[in-house]
Each structure stands twice: as C-alpha cells, then as structure tokens.
Amino acid sequence: MMRPAHLLLRGLAYGTALLVTFVCLYPFFWMLVSAFRTSKAILASPLRPWPESLSLSVLSELAEIGGTPLWVYAGNSVLITTASTVLGILVTAVGAYALVRRPDFWLFRAFRLGFLATIMYPYMLLVIPVYIVMYKIGLLGSYTGIVLFLAVGPIQFFLFEQFFQTMPKSVLEAAVVDGATEWQILFRVVLPMAMPVVATAAIITFLLNWSQWLPILVVSKSPATYTLPVALLNLNGELGVNFQGIMAMSVLTTLPVILFFLLAQRRVMSGMTAGAVKG
C-alpha cells in the first residue's frame, strides 16, 4: 500500500511528464492533421483533432513547387543525404583513426586544432565564403559541391575519435607483431571492430544531413538541387499562403527522419550525447 502523500507525488510527477510530452508532441500531431485539411477548414476550426477526410489530394497540389516537381526534391534529399553520409563516415573514420594513432605528430595536432576551430565558426556565416570557394573550384550548383560540403561534421569526428582512443592497444600490437601492414590493420582489424560506432555515426549523420538547408540553398544555382527542407522554406516564404500545402510538406520532410529515429532511438540518443559526460 502506498501512502496517500506518495500517491499524490506520483500523480504530480506523471502529470508533469505527460504535460511536457504533450507540448513536445502536439506540434507533430497538429502538423499531421492539418496536412489532411483544407486551409478553409483549418481557418474555421484550427483545433479539430481529426481531419474531415483522409484525402491525399494535397499531394497533387504539391506536385510542383516553384516549377520543380516534388519527386525531384524528395530524390535530392535521399541522394544528397545518403551520399554525404557514406562519404563522410568513410573519410572521417579513417581520418580520425590516423589522428589518434599519431597524436604526437605536430602537423596532425595542428590539423586537429584547425578542425576544432572550423566547427566553432558560425556556420550560417561560413556558407557565404563557401559560396566563393565553390565558385572558384567550379562546383557551384553541383551535387558534388553540396555532398562534399556536408560530408565532414563534428559529431561524427568525436564519436570516432573517442572510440579509437578507448580501443585496446593490445589488439593493434598483436597485429603489428603478426607482421600486418598498416593498411591491413585498418581494414581487417580496426574498421571491423569499429562497426557499431560506424553504424551509430552513420545514422546520426543521416539525420543531421537530412535537416541541412542553408548550405544547399547557397550552393544551389536553381531549385533543381534543392532538398525537401529547402523546398519547404521556399513554399513557406511564398506570397499567398498555401497553408495545407506547407503542413503536408512539413510532414514529408519530417516523417522519414522520425521513423528512422524511432527505429534507432537508443543508438541516436546515446551517440549524440556520448562523450559529453565521461564516466
């Protein structure tokens, strides 16, 4: 039997947690319901908790945004996010490994500090000089430019760095004793061992790069290389508000990452916050 005071406290605790959860989730719910309702119907009763009908007619309205078909934006999102994730994970894993193996080498140490400095730069102001760089090396408006820019990020680097730092030295030593070359050690010993962190880093990179918008907006020359978030921003900025369209587009932008996150929530939450607090 619980004492009444305990019961009250427990009720208060759950009440608060449910309230916070409601605030966290309501915007998603409202977005989803509004995507099925005409702008007129929403104006009449914004709070209605379920749509008048489950029609997908809004998708035909969204078939083209700013003269570019919707499927182009969706395809760009998948293509750019996947390519930048694969490239970024490969490059960052191997790079971080080398920096951990030879941390004393002055050039590597200088390079690591340089990397740390670049991630401090306000990214929204970095993209403008990046525009100039892209122009100079002829990658403006290209998928290549966007993918290369999105490939390297801080969270991936720290995940790998931390993993390699805590990897037991004896494994490497055994491989060296067996006469393995550094290439063999990397591909046959280190990377297979690093598979769990590779998976975590890949999922997190995918989620983060899916959300990117400013670099893509700046490097693009036309909507042909826009992703879903950029198209959503465009739609939201248009005169003559298509409210239902905006909500439907928000759903399309959000739904894939939410499903992905729910499938891998443990990995994502622990990965994104890993190393912040050392045990």
Binding site: V20, F28, F105, Y121, S270
Partner: protein
C-alpha cells in the same frame, strides 16, 4: 622480433594517406572559407569579390563599432543567449531529475524519446509548424486560449511577446538534447551516497543540493557551454519565423550579418562574422580550460 614490449610509434608515412581525404575536405570547405572571410573583413565591400580587392584595414570594424543596429543586435543577442541558456539548463535539469526520480516508473523511455523527438526533427519543419501554431487566424494556440476565455497571445506578431515565442520554439527543438545529457550523468551518480543521505535523514532539497548537484558538475558544464555556443548562433528560427522582426526585436547578430551579406555589404558582414567567431573561440577556450571537450550539436 621484439615481443611483449610496446612497439614504437608507427612511422607517419602511411597515416598521411589516411588523413588526406579528411584533411582535404576540412581545408577546402572549412579553413579556406574562414581565411577568405577574415580576409574579406579587411577589404572594401564593393571590391570584396574581385581578385584585387581594395584593402581598407580596420575600416569595416570601425563601421560596426559605430553602427547602432549592430550594437542593438549584439545587446539583444547577449540578452537572449543569457535567458535561453538559463531556461534550457534549468528546464532540462528539472525534467531529467523528474524522469529519474522514484516517482516515475513505467514510461520513462517513452518520456525520454518524446522529449528527444524534436531534436532530430528538421529545424525548418519544426519552426514552420511553430510559426503557424502562433498564427492569429490559423494557429491552435490562440484558438485554445480563446476557447478557455484567456487573453490572446501576441506570438511572433507583437514586439512584447516575440522573444518569448521564439525562445519557446527553440527550447522545444533543443531541450531534449540537454535532458539526455543530464540523464546520462544522473545514471552515473553514486547510488550509495544517495542512500547514505537518506539514512541520515536528508530532505529532498538537501539531497539535491549536497549530493546530486556536485556529481552533476560535468553535465552542467558541458550543457552550459553547448547551450551558450548554440544560442549565440541563433539563426534558423529567425530566418523561418520572424525575419528579424517585428520592428527589429529578433534581429540577432548572426541574422543581421546574413542580411548584410544579402545586401552585398561583404566587408561589414564578414567583420561581424569574425567578431562572433572570436567571441565563440574565446568562450570555447575558456571551456577547454575547464577540461571540457568542445563539441557542437
């Protein structure tokens, strides 16, 4: 072959190849643009993008120094950052404590996932939805207030409520990240100490203040640094929801700099970016001094 002895550090040779792609990307898309930006901040805007840009020394910085809009934007940014960091830390700490308290049993993971969901939501989509939630005619918030007979909320349309409205949307997007860091730290706290405190008859407040809080130092420090850097750079929420308005009330430094870029005032914009960069570097250096790993979400 020497066995049982720690092998000497391997020759650098092959590691060059391992680092090369990573280094190339960082140099081309990180270091080079920053150097360009700093360089541009010392040139005249009109010639900034030309090969032989006109060198003007500290003139752009001088313009900023005497620009009242910049002074206001900086003041506003610092005020907003201070308030937002404080709210984020307090809210995240309280919520993590609540979720890990004895009062919550079932549903812990559900609550944690729910508060983290907005963190992985594309910020554009999240802020677009909040922008419309605040809307006077389409929005759910004012309709609900109206139905309850409460006064309407100005949201992002009124100068007196816009900072609060923007901050709520940002808290919604970010706070889960900080909750999970506090959560991880709380899970590492020594249970024995808590039990001992309970045996000694410590009340909840004494337990929190003398037992938990000292053990939460790592998370407090890390979260404060992350939050500080993050809110100093507040940008997307402004770009999506307010465009710096109404009446400049949300024109933060990063957004103002971006506007100057748009107007072709490259010299001043990059000067402002350099100032903000220096500020963040300084804070990060301070943080590193306290043995914090600087890492940005």
């Amino acid at each position: 072959m020497p066995t049982g002895r720690r092998p000497a550090a391997p020759p650098v040779g092959v590691f060059w190849w391992f680092v090369a792609p990573f280094a190339l990307l960082t140099l081309v898309f990180g270091v080079w643009p920053i150097v360009l930006a700093v360089q541009t901040s010392f040139t005249a805007s009109a010639t900034a993008l030309q090969p032989n840009a006109k060198w003007v020394g500290w003139a752009n910085y001088a313009v900023l120094w005497s620009d009242p809009i910049f002074a206001n934007a900086l003041q506003r940014t610092l005020l907003y950052t201070g308030l937002a960091v404080f709210s984020t830390i307090v809210a995240a700490l309280l919520y993590a404590l609540l979720l890990q308290s004895v009062w919550i049993g079932r549903g812990r993971l559900f609550f944690k996932v729910a508060v983290f969901l907005p963190v992985v939501t594309p910020d554009i989509a999240g802020y677009v939805v909040w922008r419309w939630l605040y809307d006077q005619s389409f929005g759910a918030i004012n309709t609900a207030l109206d139905a309850l007979g409460l006064p309407l909320f100005g949201g992002i349309a009124s100068t007196s409520t816009v900072l609060g409205a923007v901050m709520v949307a940002e808290l919604w997007h970010h706070v889960g990240f900080y909750v999970v860091i506090f959560w991880a730290n709380l899970a590492l706290c020594d249970k024995g100490q808590s039990e001992a405190a309970q045996m000694d008859g410590a009340n909840a407040w004494q337990h929190f203040w003398h037992v938990l809080l000292p053990q939460l130092r790592p998370a407090l420090l890390v979260n404060s640094v992350y939050a500080l850097i993050q809110y100093l750079k507040t940008f997307t929420v402004v770009a999506v929801m307010t465009k710096g308005g109404p009446n400049e009330t949300t024109n933060f430094v990063s957004y103002y700099a971006y506007q100057l870029f748009d107007q072709g005032r490259y010299g001043e914009a990059t000067a402002m970016a350099t100032v903000l960069f220096a500020l963040i570097l300084l804070l990060s250096a301070l943080a590193m001094h306290f043995q914090v790993r600087s890492r940005l979400p």
